[in-house]
C-alpha cells in the first residue's frame, strides 16, 4: 500500500531533517509508528497524505506517486484515498454528528454526496454506537464519542489507507480498546491498511508491526 524510497524532508528555517531510506506498508497491514516527540512521526503522515512535499525521494500510495502530484492533485488524492484521524478529533463544532461525518463530501467536488453515501454514514454511526447522537453537536458528546465520530468521518470514503495521529491519545483505557476494536474490524472488512502514530506502548501488541522513528530522524532531535 505504501512504498517510500529515499525520502528526504526538511522544514524551511529549521534544522529538522527527516530521512527515510525505505518504508513499506502492506495492503492489510496495521503498522504502529513510535518515537519521541519531534522525531517526525506526524511529518511522515503529512508527507504520505500529500500535505507536505518531500525535498527528494518517492512516496507511492497504492499506485499513485504522491510526490509527483501537483497541489490540486494531492488534495483530490488525499480526500478520495486517505482517511485521517486526528488526536484532537478536529470535528466542526457547529455541525451535527451526521454533518461532521458527511463533511468530506461537502468540501470537494471529487466526491459526490448521494443517498448511498448518507446510508453508509448512518451505518457507520450505528457500527460505532453513536447513531443515537446523530443530530447532536460535538460539544454535547463525550471524548470517546467524539473520536468515534472522527473515525466515521475518516472511514466514510472507504479509504484503502487510514492515517491515525495519536488517535487514542486523549481517551481512557476502556475507550481506547473499544475504538481500536471498531477501527480494526472496519479495516479488516475492507482490506485496508493502517499507519498509526502512537505513544501508547500498551497498544503495540495489537499491531502487525512497529516502526521506531528514532532511526529516521537525521538531526535536530532537540528541536522537537
Amino acid at each position: 500500500m505504501i512504498h517510500i524510497q529515499g525520502l528526504e524532508f526538511r522544514y524551511a528555517h529549521s534544522d529538522f531533517r527527516l530521512s527515510v531510506p525505505s518504508l513499506q506498508v502492506g495492503a492489510r497491514e496495521r503498522v504502529a509508528v513510535i518515537g519521541p516527540s519531534g522525531s517526525g512521526k506526524t511529518t511522515l503522515l503529512n508527507l504520505i497524505a500529500g500535505i507536505f512535499v518531500p525535498n527528494s525521494g518517492e512516496i507511492t500510495v497504492g499506485n499513485v506517486p504522491v510526490h509527483a502530484l501537483d497541489d490540486a492533485g494531492r488534495r483530490v488524492f488525499r480526500i478520495s484515498n486517505i482517511g485521517f484521524v486526528f488526536q484532537d478529533f478536529e470535528l466542526i463544532d457547529y455541525l451535527s454528528v451526521l454533518d461532521n461525518i458527511l463533511h468530506p463530501y461537502r468540501i470537494t467536488r471529487a466526491l459526490r454526496l448521494n443517498k448511498e453515501v448518507r446510508g453508509r454514514a448512518i451505518a457507520l454511526a450505528e457500527q460505532m454506537a453513536i447513531a443515537k447522537h446523530i443530530k447532536r453537536r460535538p460539544g454535547e458528546l463525550s471524548q470517546g464519542e467524539r473520536q468515534r465520530v472522527a473515525i466515521c468521518r475518516a472511514l466514510l470514503t472507504q479509504p484503502k489507507l487510514v492515517l491515525a495521529d495519536e488517535a487514542t491519545g486523549n481517551l481512557d483505557p476502556d475507550n481506547k480498546t473499544q475504538i481500536l476494536d471498531l477501527l480494526f474490524a472496519n479495516l479488516a472488512e475492507r482490506d485496508a491498511a493502517l499507519l498509526a502514530v502512537t505513544h501508547d506502548h500498551d497498544l503495540l501488541p495489537r499491531f502487525d508491526r512497529v516502526e521506531d522513528f528514532r532511526a529516521f530522524r537525521a538531526s535536530g532531535e532537540a528541536n522537537a
Partner: protein, 393 residues
C-alpha cells in the same frame, strides 16, 4: 455551491448572535438613507400638494411658517390670534371667499379645528359615516382619529385643557361625534372638526347654565338689578351640550372680536388674489397674507439643506460600519483557522475554502438586502401616514 451554502448556513445558525448583529448593522446602514429619502420625498409631496391647493392664508403678523403650518397641517405651534373681523374683511372685499380656521385646542392628542362648513367643500372632504356638523357641541372626526381612538358616530370625545396647570382656564367639553370623514391622506385625517362656535365654547367665550332668573338657590346670585342678574362661581356650567341644554348656551360680547388663528382666502380668480394680497402688503396693515406655496418652498429648501448634512453623516457612519464588518469577518476568519486547517488536511481545495467563507458573507448580505428591501418597501407603503404622524402632524 449548495454544499458551501449549507455549511455556511449551519455556521450562521450556530452563531446566531454574531450573525444577527451583522445583519442588523448592514440592514440599518443600507436602509436608513433609502428610507429617509422616501420619507423626505413624501414630505415634499404632501407639503407642496396641500400648499398648492391652498391659495392664500390670512393671519397675524409674525412667523409666516407658523401660520401656514398651523392652518394647513394643524401644527401645535399656534400663531398669534386674529379676530373674526378679519373673516368679515375678506368677505366684504368681494375678492375672495373666506374660510375661518381656529386650530388651537386638542382632544386626546388630536387637534380640534374650529371652522365652517365651507372648509369641507373647499377640501372636498366626504363623509364615510354619519352626517356633517349641524348643532353646537358636535364634531366630525378624521379617518385616523376614528381608527386610533375607536370612535364612530354616536360616541363622544372630550376636549383637553391647554395645560394641566390651567385650572382656571378652558373647561373640557364633551363633544358628540356625528360623522367620520373618508380617508383623504392629508392632515384632515388626524383632525377633530367642530363649528367655530363650539371652539369658542371650549375656550369659555360661550357657555350654558341654568336660567339664573328662575334659579331657586339664592346663594348663587351675587347681584340682581332689574333683568340683569350677576351669578357667582357656584353657578354650574354645562360641560356637555345636549338637546335639553343647547338652548341655554349663549355668547357674551361681539362675535367679530372672537378669536381665530387664520382665514383661508379663496380668490375668485388670479387677479382678485393679487389685488387682495396688495391690500395686506402695506406696513400698517393689521394682518399678513401669504401664499402657502412660497412659504413651503422656503421650508423645503432648509429641509434639503439638512438632508445634505444627514447624507454626509450617514456616509461616514456607513464607512465606519463597513470597516467594523470587515474587522468582524477577519476576526471570525482567525477564529475559524483551526477548522480551515482541518478541512485543508482532509483535502479541501483553496477555492472551496474561499467559497465557504464567501457563502457566509453572501448569506448575511442577502438577508440584510432582503430586510433592507422590506424596510424600504414598508416605508414606501406607509410613508404617507408616517410623514403625517411624525413630521407634519
Amino acid at each position: 455551491m449548495l454544499d458551501s451554502l449549507y455549511i455556511a448556513g449551519q455556521y450562521i445558525t450556530h452563531n446566531k448572535a454574531k450573525a444577527a448583529t451583522l445583519i442588523a448593522c448592514i440592514t440599518l446602514i443600507a436602509a436608513l438613507p433609502l428610507a429617509l429619502e422616501s420619507l423626505l420625498d413624501e414630505s415634499e409631496r404632501q407639503l407642496t400638494s396641500r400648499a398648492a391647493s391652498t391659495p392664500l392664508v390670512l393671519g397675524a403678523k409674525g412667523s409666516a411658517l407658523d401660520l401656514v403650518m398651523n392652518t394647513l397641517y394643524f401644527d401645535d405651534e399656534v400663531p398669534e390670534l386674529i379676530s373674526m373681523a378679519a373673516t368679515e374683511q375678506v368677505a366684504a372685499s368681494d375678492l375672495a371667499a373666506p374660510v375661518p380656521v381656529y386650530a388651537r385646542y386638542h382632544a386626546r392628542g388630536f387637534p380640534i379645528v374650529g371652522t365652517t362648513l365651507d372648509y369641507f367643500d373647499f377640501r372636498r372632504l366626504q363623509m364615510a359615516q354619519g352626517r356633517p356638523l349641524a348643532v353646537l357641541g358636535e364634531c366630525v372626526i378624521g379617518a385616523d382619529v376614528a381608527r386610533d381612538l375607536g370612535l364612530e358616530p354616536g360616541d363622544s370625545l372630550v376636549s383637553s385643557p391647554e395645560s394641566v396647570f390651567d385650572l382656571a382656564g378652558v373647561y373640557p367639553l364633551k363633544m358628540k361625534v356625528v360623522g367620520v370623514l373618508r380617508d383623504s391622506h392629508t392632515s384632515d385625517d388626524r383632525a377633530v372638526f367642530v363649528d367655530l362656535k363650539t371652539a369658542w365654547v371650549i375656550e369659555g367665550l360661550g357657555h350654558g347654565h341654568d336660567d339664573v332668573t328662575r334659579i331657586k338657590d339664592r346663594s348663587v346670585i351675587l347681584d340682581r338689578t332689574g333683568d340683569n342678574v350677576v351669578a357667582n362661581a357656584k353657578l354650574m356650567q354645562f360641560t356637555e351640550i345636549t338637546e335639553d341644554n343647547v338652548g341655554s348656551f349663549h355668547f357674551h360680547g361681539d362675535a367679530a372680536i372672537y378669536p381665530i388663528t387664520a382665514v383661508i382666502a379663496l380668490p375668485a380668480d388670479e387677479k382678485s388674489g393679487t389685488i387682495l394680497r396688495g391690500r395686506y402688503l402695506q406696513a400698517d396693515a393689521d394682518y399678513q397674507i401669504v401664499e402657502p406655496d412660497d412659504v413651503i418652498d422656503g421650508l423645503l429648501e432648509n429641509i434639503f439643506r439638512i438632508k445634505n448634512v444627514l447624507d454626509a453623516v450617514i456616509a461616514v457612519v456607513g464607512f465606519a460600519t463597513v470597516l467594523a464588518i470587515v474587522l468582524v469577518f477577519s476576526l471570525s476568519l482567525r477564529l475559524r483557522e483551526r477548522e480551515i486547517n482541518t478541512i485543508f488536511k482532509l483535502g479541501c481545495s483553496r477555492m472551496t475554502i474561499a467559497r465557504l467563507l464567501a457563502s457566509e458573507i453572501a448569506i448575511i448580505v442577502l438577508i440584510s438586502g432582503a430586510l433592507c428591501a422590506a424596510v424600504v418597501w414598508m416605508t414606501n407603503v406607509y410613508s404617507s401616514d408616517l410623514v403625517r404622524a411624525l413630521f407634519i402632524g
